[in-house]
C-alpha cells in the first residue's frame, strides 16, 4: 500500500498488514490484516487469550515493551510503516494513544495527570490549560472536576479515573485511540459513561476497542473484528457480524457458547 491510497480521503488511517507475533512457545498472532478507517470505532472481540491485547498493543508499538516477542509484518499509519527502523516509537505513541484495562492515573493532581503528555513536549501554560480543559470536556469528566483540578487523582472513583486516563491520552491530540477493555474494572453506571464518551469520540478519532463484551460492541462499534487463537476469523459492519455471522466460531462466540 502506498502513501497515496492510505492517507487520501476515505483510505484507512491505520492499517495492520500481515502482522505475525511470536513468543518462544507459540504464534500469538498469525498473519493478521485489518483496516481502521477515519471516524470509526472498531471493536476487537474474541475469547480470552485469543490475542486481543497483543494485537492492540502492536498498533502503537507498546508490544515492544514486552521482552521476548518477535514481530513481523507492518502497521501503516497515514502511509508510514510505524515499524520502519527510522520511526521513533515515542512519536508513534504520541499519535496513537492508549487506555488500559485498569485506570492508571499517576499519584499527582487531576490537572497534572491530564497535562502529562503536554508537559513532555514543553507546551506553554496557556496552551496546556486550554488543551486540558478541552480533553476533560471530551472525556466527559470536566463537569465533575472543574471546581477542583488540584485534587489528588487517586481520590477519584474508578470510573472517573478511567475517564481521566482517556483525557490524558486525548490531551496530546492523537489521531487514534486504542482502548483495551477500558470498562472491565468498572461498575455498570461508570461503564455507561465511558461508553457514552467513546460514542462521542468516534466522530473525531479512530477508535479501536478491545472488549470481551458482545453487548458493548453492539452498543458502540461500527465494525467488529472477531479473533480466535491469533487468527482474524471475520470482520464487517457490527450488525452483520453480530446478527448474521458467516463463521461457526463467530456464531458460537456471540451466543456465549464459549468464553
Amino acid at each position: 500500500m502506498n502513501a497515496l491510497t492510505s492517507s487520501g480521503n476515505g483510505g484507512p488511517v491505520l492499517s495492520a498488514q500481515h502482522l505475525t507475533i511470536q513468543s518462544k512457545q507459540k504464534k500469538i498472532l498469525d498473519d493478521l490484516s485489518l483496516d481502521f478507517p477515519a471516524a470509526s470505532l472498531t471493536a476487537v472481540v474474541g475469547p480470552s487469550g485469543c490475542g486481543k491485547t497483543t494485537f492492540i498493543r502492536s498498533l502503537n508499538r507498546m508490544v515492544e515493551l514486552t521482552p521476548g516477542l518477535s514481530i513481523r509484518g507492518s502497521v501503516i499509519y497515514l502511509g508510514q510503516d510505524i515499524y520502519d527502523p527510522s520511526v521513533n516509537p515515542v512519536m508513534v505513541r504520541r499519535r496513537i494513544g492508549m487506555v488500559f484495562q485498569r485506570p492508571t492515573v499517576f499519584p499527582t493532581t487531576v490537572f497534572e495527570n491530564a497535562a502529562f503528555g503536554l508537559r513532555l513536549v514543553h507546551e506553554d501554560i496557556e496552551t496546556i490549560e486550554k488543551s486540558v480543559e478541552e480533553a476533560l470536556q471530551r472525556s466527559g469528566l470536566w463537569e465533575e472536576v472543574k471546581d477542583d483540578l488540584d485534587r489528588p487523582a487517586l481520590s477519584l472513583s474508578g470510573g472517573q479515573q478511567q475517564r481521566l486516563c482517556i483525557a490524558r491520552a486525548l490531551a496530546i491530540k492523537p489521531r487514534v485511540l486504542l482502548l483495551d477493555e477500558p470498562t472491565s474494572a468498572l461498575d455498570p453506571a461508570a461503564t455507561q459513561r465511558v461508553e457514552a464518551t467513546m460514542q462521542r469520540l468516534k466522530e473525531d478519532f479512530v477508535l479501536v476497542l478491545v472488549t470481551h463484551n458482545v453487548g458493548q460492541a453492539a452498543r458502540v462499534s461500527d465494525k467488529v473484528a472477531f479473533l480466535h487463537s491469533g487468527h482474524l476469523i471475520e470482520v464487517g459492519p457490527t450488525a452483520d457480524i453480530l446478527e448474521r455471522p458467516r463463521e461457526a466460531l463467530t456464531q458460537q462466540f456471540i451466543t456465549g457458547r464459549f468464553q
Binding site: 515493551l65 515515542v90 504520541r94 492508571t104 502529562f116 503528555g117 490524558r168
Partner: protein, 303 residues
C-alpha cells in the same frame, strides 16, 4: 477435617465451627503459646539493647557537656569538636559518592539492563551488603591508599566508606523503581514519554521517599562503621584541610580510646559512642516519619 466427616449425627454449632482434630488442636495450642512467646522474645531482644543504651548514657552523660562537643582546640585531646566536624565532612563526601553510584546503578538495573545483567548486579549488591566492613576497608586500602596513591587521607577514607554504603542505596533504588506498578510505567510510555521522562517525571516522585529512606539508613549504618575509615586514614587533631589530609572520625575515636584505663580517654570513647547513638536513633526516626507520610500519599496506587 477427617474427624468431622465421621462425626456423630447430631451436630451442634460447636461441632461445625470448631474442628477438633488433633492437628488443629495442636495448632490452636501453638497459637496460644506463640501469643505470649512473642512478647517474651521481644523482651529478650530489647532488654540487652536498652541495657547497652543505658550503659553508654550513664558512662557518657556525667562528663558530657556542650563545651566537649564544640571544643575544636587541637591541643585539647579530650574534646569532640574536631571528630564531629570531620565526621560530618566524611559523611557528606561518602553520601554524595554513594548516592551517585547507588542511584545510577539502581535505576540502570531496574530500567535498562537485561534480566541477566540485572541479576548479576543484584547478586553483587547482596554479596557486598553481606561483606564484613573490614574487607571493604582492606579493599579501600589496597585500591585507593596504595593503588591510586591517595595515602592515608580524608578522600581515601570517605570514598571507602562510600563503597560500603553504595550497595544499600543501590538496593533500595532498584527496589523502588522495580516495584512501581507495570501499568503506571506503560501508561507513561504509552502517553509518549521517553524513558528518561518516565524515570524523572513519573517514577521519581513515587520512588523518591523510599530512596530517601534508604539513603538515611545507609548514612546511619555508615556513621556507625569504623573499619573502612581506620584502615584508610590516620587520626588527626585537625579538621581536614585538603582532600589528602588525615581525618578523625567519631567511631575511630571510640576505637582508639575504649581500651584505655578509666579516665578522660575512656570517658571520651563513651561520649563519642553516645553521640553516634543519638545520631543513629535520630536518623531512624526520620526514616519512620518519611515512611509514614509516603504510605499515606500513595494510598490507592498499589491496589
Amino acid at each position: 477435617m477427617a474427624s468431622a466427616s465421621v462425626a456423630a449425627p447430631a451436630e451442634t454449632g460447636k461441632d461445625l465451627l470448631f474442628d477438633a482434630s488433633a492437628r488443629t488442636r495442636w495448632r490452636l495450642g501453638f497459637d496460644r503459646v506463640a501469643g505470649w512467646l512473642l512478647p517474651v522474645l521481644f523482651l529478650v531482644a530489647i532488654v540487652p539493647i536498652l541495657d547497652l543504651v543505658y550503659y553508654i548514657a550513664s558512662q557518657a552523660l556525667p562528663t558530657l557537656s556542650w563545651a566537649v562537643l564544640t571544643n575544636t582546640n587541637p591541643h585539647d585531646p579530650y574534646a569532640l569538636g574536631v571528630p564531629i566536624i570531620s565526621t560530618v565532612y566524611v559523611m557528606l563526601w561518602a553520601t554524595a559518592v554513594a548516592v551517585a553510584l547507588g542511584l545510577f546503578g539502581g535505576v540502570a538495573t531496574a530500567e535498562f539492563l537485561s534480566e541477566r545483567a540485572a541479576g548479576w548486579m543484584r547478586m553483587s549488591a547482596n554479596l557486598l551488603v553481606g561483606t564484613p566492613s573490614v574487607v571493604i576497608g582492606y579493599f579501600g586500602y589496597f585500591a585507593l591508599v596504595l593503588g591510586l596513591g591517595w595515602g592515608y587521607s580524608f578522600i581515601a577514607g570517605a570514598t571507602t566508606l562510600a563503597f560500603f554504603m553504595t550497595p544499600y542505596i543501590f538496593r533500595v533504588t532498584d527496589l523502588a523503581y522495580s516495584s512501581i506498578p507495570r501499568p503506571i510505567r506503560e501508561a507513561a510510555l504509552g502517553s509518549g514519554a521517553r524513558p528518561y521522562q518516565y524515570i524523572l517525571k513519573v517514577a521519581a516522585p513515587i520512588a523518591l521517599p523510599q530512596i530517601l529512606n534508604g539513603v538515611f539508613l545507609a548514612v546511619a549504618i555508615g556513621v556507625g562503621e569504623t573499619a573502612p575509615i581506620v584502615l584508610t586514614s590516620t587520626h588527626s587533631v585537625l579538621v581536614p584541610q585538603t582532600l589528602y589530609s588525615p581525618v578523625s572520625f567519631l567511631t575511630a575515636e571510640i576505637w582508639l580510646n575504649f581500651s584505655q584505663p578509666p579516665g578522660q580517654a575512656l570517658a571520651l570513647a563513651f561520649q563519642a559512642a553516645f553521640v553516634v547513638l543519638v545520631v543513629v536513633v535520630a536518623l531512624n526516626i526520620v526514616v519512620r516519619i518519611i515512611s509514614a507520610r509516603y504510605q499515606k500519599r500513595l494510598e490507592g496506587l498499589y491496589q
